[in-house]
Symmetry: C2
Subunit: 190 residues, 2 copies
């Protein structure tokens, strides 16, 4: 745009709103996240790398950096530390020789699984704080306006990785439910 389609006052009010709320929200998320990962001797960046690798079933370092909103060097250095702890393995893909990929080792996979199972052992202020909206609307808020802003800032690639991680959660939990249903059926037969 060559001309500003808003007044200075609108820009200041909006800047104040998005600045304050994004800081307050992130600090609450960060606190929940730190409490959750505390027993596992991981920092947030390390856990985020494992989390991304888990949900994307392996990812290039540049995808980890993009989706983790961290520098490529940060993504690489922390991935190296996770490799030393045998939680992550580096590889090259035949279809893409130029990028370095990381994927979880069986030990890393087991750790992620354990952490998901222990998710509710620590408090999550953002979940508790969203419950009144869930009760009102019948589902957790989707924050579609924020998602639209993020799509505009980070691009479609970022949102595709976002969607891929959702699909993985959907499918993992469907499998799990099917196993439970199957087990119940077997019990009925016996």
């Amino acid at each position: 745009m060559s001309e500003k389609d808003y007044t200075f006052k609108e820009a200041m009010l909006f800047s104040q709103r998005i600045g304050q709320l994004s800081k307050a929200l992130w600090k609450a998320v960060e606190k929940d996240w730190q409490l959750w990962i505390k027993p596992y001797d991981l920092n947030i960046n390390e856990h985020h790398i494992l989390w991304i690798s888990y949900h994307l079933k392996g990812a290039s370092i540049s995808d980890v950096a993009k989706f983790g909103v961290m520098h490529v060097s940060t993504a690489f250095n922390f991935s190296k530390k996770l490799e030393e702890r045998e939680l992550l393995a580096f590889s090259k893909r035949d279809t893409d020789k130029r990028n370095t990929y990381v994927e979880l080792t069986p030990k890393g996979e087991a750790l992620m699984q354990e952490m998901i199972e222990k998710y509710h052992d620590t408090p999550h202020a953002v979940i508790d704080g969203s419950m009144p909206l869930k009760e009102l609307y019948g589902k957790f808020p989707e924050f579609l306006d924020i998602m639209a802003v993020i799509r505009n800032i980070y691009g479609d690639d970022f949102m595709e990785i976002f969607e891929a991680s959702f699909k993985n959660i959907e499918s993992k939990f469907s499998e799990k439910n099917q196993i439970i249903v199957a087990t119940e059926k077997n019990e009925n037969v016996l």
Copy 2:
């Protein structure tokens, strides 16, 4: 709540959404903010303290800490540095002897005014990223669902400070517009 009113899958999907989007949004806000304050040799915490003091017309250290989402010791230490630079002054209030208050000095006030005037000299990805929503709805998004979540996490006090800062922006810019209107009227008379 004694029982969880949501499934594990819902919690995981929501956790993934709010975790990713709050990190991505905050990192974008942080980058814009750093570019804006770069010429002034201030870090984000220091600028945030000045900003809060400016909009609340003086504030207690505990209000600065609460609204700035920082530790009281961080708020205090950075306020001391700003006092050394003669941007901020400490005081006690007769009505509240127990708390320490900070307020901008004339030099601090002038700096805030200059920074507001230069706001558009640096890029603001979050404003650009919100323009399609502004065009669609005729105004910048208000993110009311996120505001509701933050109210539940941080309490009504936090939101009152939020509203006070909005009112200050409203009134400052109304004064300014009145001055512009008054000047124009004088020009017409002359």
